[in-house]
């Protein structure tokens, strides 16, 4: 049974190579037809504000969020996102992508009200876990 695709996925990372590889992976696994890329928290926030006040096809169902970024990092994005008056916030799943975290950052991430966090690099298995846990669907065997 082919996967029921997500309406839209947003990648937030300042590393173009990471974005390229993740885009390659997501496209190969055919998780979504609509992949958006933001290079920092501010760009991501602009995208969310532009597309999510009403339920549009461009409002991401899944946001994969890097921690360390210039302009606005992952934590700052989450703070600003929390204050946005969006009607369907529950429909937006945010997963943080981290490298090895500083112990105090691990604590910080754990206390956040987000879908979860994954250690980089992103793999097929990790994506499948996200689909299973948050979208009740999985990649074809």
């Amino acid at each position: 049974m082919p996967l029921q695709k997500l309406t839209c996925v947003l990648l937030v990372d300042d590393d173009q190579t990471t974005n390229y590889l993740n885009q390659l992976l997501i496209n190969r696994l055919e998780i979504t037809d609509k992949l958006l890329i933001a290079l920092n928290g501010q760009e991501a926030l602009d995208l969310v504000q532009a597309h999510c006040h009403e339920a549009t096809p461009d409002c991401p169902a899944l946001i994969l969020l890097d921690v360390k970024m210039p302009v606005m990092d992952g934590f700052q994005f989450l703070e600003a996102y929390d204050k946005l008056p969006l009607p369907e916030k529950a429909a937006i799943i945010i997963v943080m992508l981290t490298t090895s975290l500083h112990p105090q950052d691990v604590d910080r991430v754990r206390r956040l009200n987000i879908g979860g966090f994954l250690n980089k690099p992103l793999t097929k298995e990790k994506l499948n876990d996200v689909l299973k846990n948050h979208f009740n669907r999985h990649l074809p065997e």
Binding site: D15, T99, P103
Partner: protein, 573 residues
Amino acid sequence: MSSTPLPPAAELARANEELRHQLEEAHDLIHAIRTGAVDALAVQGTEGPRIFTLQGADQGYRTLIEQMNEGALLLSDDGTVLYCNACLAGLLQCDLSEVMGRAFADFVPPAFRDYWAGLLLKGWESKSKGELPLQTRGGALVPFSVSMNVLSFNETATLAVIVTDLSAQREITAIRAQVEEQNALLDRKNEELKREETARLAGERAAAEASRLLEGISQIAWTVDPSGANTYRNRRWYDYIGVAPGEGPSIGRAWRERLHPDDAPATLARWNESLRTGAPFEVECRIRNADGDYRWMLGRAQPSRNAQGEVLQWIGTYTDIHEHKLALERIDQGQRELLNYNEQLTRVNVDLDNFIYTASHDLKAPISNIEGLLDALLTELPAETVAREPVQPILHLMQDSVNRFKRTIELLTDVSKLQKEHGLPTEPVDLAAVVRDVRLDLEPLLQSTGAQLEVDVAAAPAVMFSEKNLRSVVFNLLSNALKYRAPGRQPQVHLRARPEGAGVVLEVQDNGLGLDAASEQKLFGMFQRFHDHVEGSGIGLYMVKKMVENAGGRISVSTNLGIGTTFSVLFNR
């Protein structure tokens, strides 16, 4: 008379003249009595009253009696007043006429009548003296002394009495008492003055004694009185300020004028406090010398007290501590610099730790990208290309390099985690139990190498350490002893522990490869590897050293190339 022959006429004329003279005298007497100028003596005789005059007494004597300041009277044998002078009448506040001819006992208060009778009795025998009160006309009793003796007038005995008013004497007595009291007071004052003088002399002697002693000592010395006014300065002071005693204005010789402006307020405040409370004075301050340079002095002063505990004077000294103080300051400065260096080093260490963490963290992203790109490339390349020479070995070596890179980053991450553990809480850990666990973990290696491991840790008390780290230390040392075994002989490893001082010493001795002296120096460095035939990260001993030292311990090694190596770890308890 007719029978007697008539005397001759001349004799008759002389007798006549004498009689006429007597008549004139009698006339004068009667006149004097009438005018009160001369006292008459009225004596009640058997044939009626008789008038006695002061026959034979001259005018001067009578005047004396009349004008003297004592009462005088004559008493008849029955106690009647024959005569009294005006003074007595005045003392009794009566008229002369009221006293004369009266029984004198009327003036004696009843309680003294017997006494009076006794005095009279004795007086008639010869003389008597006594004291008694007499009643005046007003009824008041006045103290008198009486003295009496018998006088004879024309063969009639009378008792002459002199009466002296004692009230004045009583007053005199009272005054005398006052005078005596005053005198006693004066005596006491004198006594006190004498004592004070003695005390002052003692004080002066003490001061002189102090001065003599102080003159000889090597410090600056001085004395002041309890108010703080200077009483003495020794020669050292005058040498120091370059002024002779008594030279120039006195203010210029005072220490307070020579205090360093920065020290003056605190020093003077403390000195005034000591003067007020009597507490010993001690201060370090700078005082200007003859050249105008300030030198550090240790000032001290103690109060000297008398037996009553009052401050007699203050004895003080100034000791030159300039060099000492400067040396201390240099030491202080040195210590401050050391502290600064320490802080800098600590900062550098923290920076390095952070650098290792950041580097390991930041290198992770690109290496996983490279790995990801390599994977992507593999999926993009046609399978036959991938399998072809030299693509296949290139890809293999690339993957190998990526793996080594990743492992190094992992190790760096471990090291940086260890840095963060600095100050990790320690607990008493049972060394024997840890060694048992590690031995189990290493059992496959022990088996494959045929090594003989002897453990003797029974004598060791518990070690204060983090259990995880202790396990890591024991594991590293034991696995090293096995890994770097000498080919051609059975590995023999001794693990011993014993208490030493307040800590525990753990020794791991092997008969392995050993190291030369040059390598020994670098043994504990990061990423140091000495044997390429054995798999190793070059990080194990660095980690062991770090863990031991983080917990306040020490690690040392003694090694002989080709013979073996012994590691000694001292754990502080």
